[in-house]
Symmetry: C2
Subunit: 244 residues, 2 copies
Amino acid sequence: MRYFKAIVEYDGTNYHGFQRQPNAITIQEVLESSLHILTKEEIKIIGASRTDSGVHACGQVINFETKTPIPIQRIRYAWNNCLPDDILIREVKEVDDEFHARYYSKGKIYEYHILNKELPSTFKRNYSYHIRKKLDSASMLKAAQYLVGTHDFSSFRASGCGANTTVRTINSFKINRIENNIICRVDGSGFLYNMIRIMVGTLLEVGFNKLQVKEVKEILEAKDRTEAGPTAPAHGLRLIKVKY
Amino acid sequence: MRYFKAIVEYDGTNYHGFQRQPNAITIQEVLESSLHILTKEEIKIIGASRTDSGVHACGQVINFETKTPIPIQRIRYAWNNCLPDDILIREVKEVDDEFHARYYSKGKIYEYHILNKELPSTFKRNYSYHIRKKLDSASMLKAAQYLVGTHDFSSFRASGCGANTTVRTINSFKINRIENNIICRVDGSGFLYNMIRIMVGTLLEVGFNKLQVKEVKEILEAKDRTEAGPTAPAHGLRLIKVKY
């Protein structure tokens, strides 16, 4: 048996998220089907992150085992030929049998993209959340710093979240404006269900001056989802990197 | 009667070009349907450029007449609400009854986008032509300068072109590389059918070192389509601006 790790990029627009489910097409299903075309085996993949419907990835990581004799230097090219053009294998390598994309992860980096101008963009419509009203991104950045560190993130957890503990560590939270594009970049140990989208939705309230900067600290300390802002839409979010 | 000029942006991926045709959805048809929803009138629009299937626009210009009483400052917002999110009205203004988007045009600017790196990008797959092999963009730029000026562009005209004259003027032809992105920007008086895509297809042969720089001059002088390179694919092309 051979063991593989792969880095996968995808445009999540046309998929119902990463994880396989009945009656809806998912990234996992398409990746497994493509591996079946490639190897004629029934292969089950494990993904580092269960990205939601509409969420994108530049650096999702998966692992799987196979008996295929295809040489390592030919796999990526052959595999990409079995995939639609909204899913791309960026890198494939052989790993030892212990590697597990989710359990071995030491952290993840996500970006949330906002287009902040009067008119939307037809070209970015699936990749950036359009907000017409001018955002105070400097205040958003200040408020985001309250979220950095090890905290109980109960206030930023969606109701469907089944995690055992709500304590997570955020290593950095950067918010950068380049002309009309605002990119929120979060580096953390791991995230609760919808945690990034709720954090961004709350910071947007700061950007609109509906919340004061220091109120974000109070929301975090309240450990109550109803105190935080709305969940920002999925299409602005992308998984950048999984760290090992 | 009131007369309007509008600037339109669109992602051409899901359309069979600009011009209305039976049995296939086009930009013109969707714009006319949206004006019908808005005004309850049967409105025929005139577009400055008949962009092909898959070609995009940031600055297509259209004109039309209507009896609608909607105030000018409300039209753009109301109209955009009647359109799908891959077509966007950027600007609307009232003009005099003589204005004609095509006849009044003094020139057009197009861009052709190339992604020049080993792996494609799932996010740019509809907006940029992916070329794996490293292109010599400096030689492409040199060769492109032979095309600047007033010339007979018969060599760069697709067989279906019904234009009366094959003489056109190119004011400038810039080719700029920023990291892995190459943007070819052409400013001209007007263009024959597929002219930009055939020019780009020919310059790509120079970029691949299959043609020498000076051979582009010979191809232009041959006035023979079979001397030029292949037609570059539609999805790399976008109409940037129509000049009046």
